[in-house]
C-alpha cells in the first residue's frame, strides 16, 4: 500500500462515514456542518485523483457556499429534525 493509496483509502472511508453521520444526526446544524466536511473530503479526493479544477470548484462551491446556504436555511427553520 503506497502512501498515496493509503491516503486515498482513508479519505474514502471517512467520506462514507461523514455522509452517514450527516444523514443520521438529529440536529440540522450539525448535519450541515458535517455535510461541509463531506464536501471538503470529496474535494481532497479529487485533488488527489488529478482533477484539480473540479477540486477547486467543489471546495469553493460544495464545502463553501452550499454549507452556508444550508446553515442559513436551518436558522430560518426548525432546528431539530424528527428523523
Amino acid at each position: 500500500m503506497t502512501g498515496l493509496a493509503l491516503f486515498n483509502l482513508f479519505i474514502l472511508v471517512f467520506m462514507v462515514v461523514a455522509a452517514v453521520i450527516s444523514l443520521r444526526v438529529k440536529d440540522l446544524l450539525t448535519a450541515s456542518v458535517v455535510f461541509g466536511i463531506y464536501s471538503f473530503l470529496m474535494c481532497l479526493l479529487w485533488a488527489e485523483m488529478g482533477a484539480v479544477d473540479v477540486a477547486f470548484t467543489e471546495a469553493a462551491v460544495g464545502a463553501g457556499v452550499s454549507a452556508v446556504f444550508l446553515v442559513a436555511t436551518v436558522f430560518n427553520v426548525k432546528r431539530m429534525s424528527s428523523d
Binding site: 482533477a51 479544477d53 473540479v54 428523523d83
Partner: protein, 203 residues
C-alpha cells in the same frame, strides 16, 4: 457472483473508488426518498449528485497521468517558443505555475518550428483526461443551483405550514383541502333567493 473470488475481489481491490461511489449513491438515493425531514432529503440529494460526480471523475483518471495542465516543455506560451529572447520571462511563467509537479528538467529540444506543436500519442498519456472534469464543473454548479432552489422551497413551505416534516406538511395540506368550499356561482336554488336579489347582491 459473491461466492467465487474472481469477481468480488477484482471489484473490491482494483476498483475501490467505484465501490465507494456505489455506496454513496445508494445512501443518497435512500435518504432522498426515505427521510422525513425536508432538509435531510436535500442533503441526501447533494450526496447523490456528488457520488455521480465522483464516478465521472474516476473515469478520467490515468495511471501516472498528471493534472490536465501543460507542463513547462509542452506549454504553448512557454519558453521554447522564443527560448533565447526572454529566458527570465520563461522562468517567471514556471514559478507562477503552482502545480508542484515533478521538476521538469529544462532539457534542450529542437525549437526550429515556430508556435506550439501538438503532442505525440505517448505524450498525451501523461495527462489526465480533461473532458470528465469539464462535465463535472457543470454538474457541481447544477447541484448547487438545485440545492438553492430546494432550500427556498423549504422556507416557503415552512412559512405557510410552520413545519418541514413531510408527514406534518401532508397532514396540514389534507386539512386545508377538506376546509375549502367550492363557490358555486350559478347555484340558484329556486326556493332560496330569487335570481333578482342574487344579481343585485352580486352587482
Amino acid at each position: 457472483m459473491f461466492g467465487e473470488d474472481g469477481l468480488l475481489n477484482e471489484l473490491l481491490v482494483e476498483r475501490f473508488n467505484y465501490c465507494v461511489y456505489v455506496v454513496l449513491l445508494l445512501i443518497g438515493l435512500y435518504a432522498m426518498i426515505a427521510k422525513n425531514n425536508l432538509i435531510k432529503k436535500l442533503i441526501g440529494m447533494s450526496i447523490f449528485q456528488t457520488a455521480i460526480i465522483l464516478f465521472y471523475v474516476s473515469i478520467g483518471v490515468k495511471e501516472g497521468g498528471t493534472i490536465p495542465i501543460y507542463v513547462a516543455e509542452h506549454d504553448p506560451h512557454g519558453h521554447h517558443a522564443e527560448h533565447q529572447a526572454h529566458p527570465e520571462e520563461a522562468n517567471a511563467t514556471e514559478e507562477t505555475e503552482e502545480n508542484a509537479t515533478t521538476a521538469t528538467t529544462l532539457h534542450e529540444e529542437d525549437h526550429g518550428h515556430h508556435g506550439p506543436r501538438s503532442l505525440t500519442d505517448e505524450e498525451t498519456s501523461d495527462y489526465a483526461n480533461p473532458l470528465p472534469h469539464v462535465l463535472m464543473l457543470t454538474a457541481i454548479v447544477v447541484g448547487v443551483a438545485t440545492l438553492g432552489v430546494a432550500l427556498a422551497l423549504t422556507q416557503r413551505i415552512y412559512r405557510a405550514y410552520g413545519t418541514i416534516e413531510e408527514d406534518a406538511v401532508l397532514a396540514a395540506i389534507l386539512a386545508e383541502d377538506a376546509s375549502t368550499v367550492i363557490p358555486d356561482v350559478l347555484a340558484t336554488k329556486p326556493k332560496r333567493t330569487s335570481s333578482k336579489s342574487r344579481k343585485a347582491k352580486k352587482a
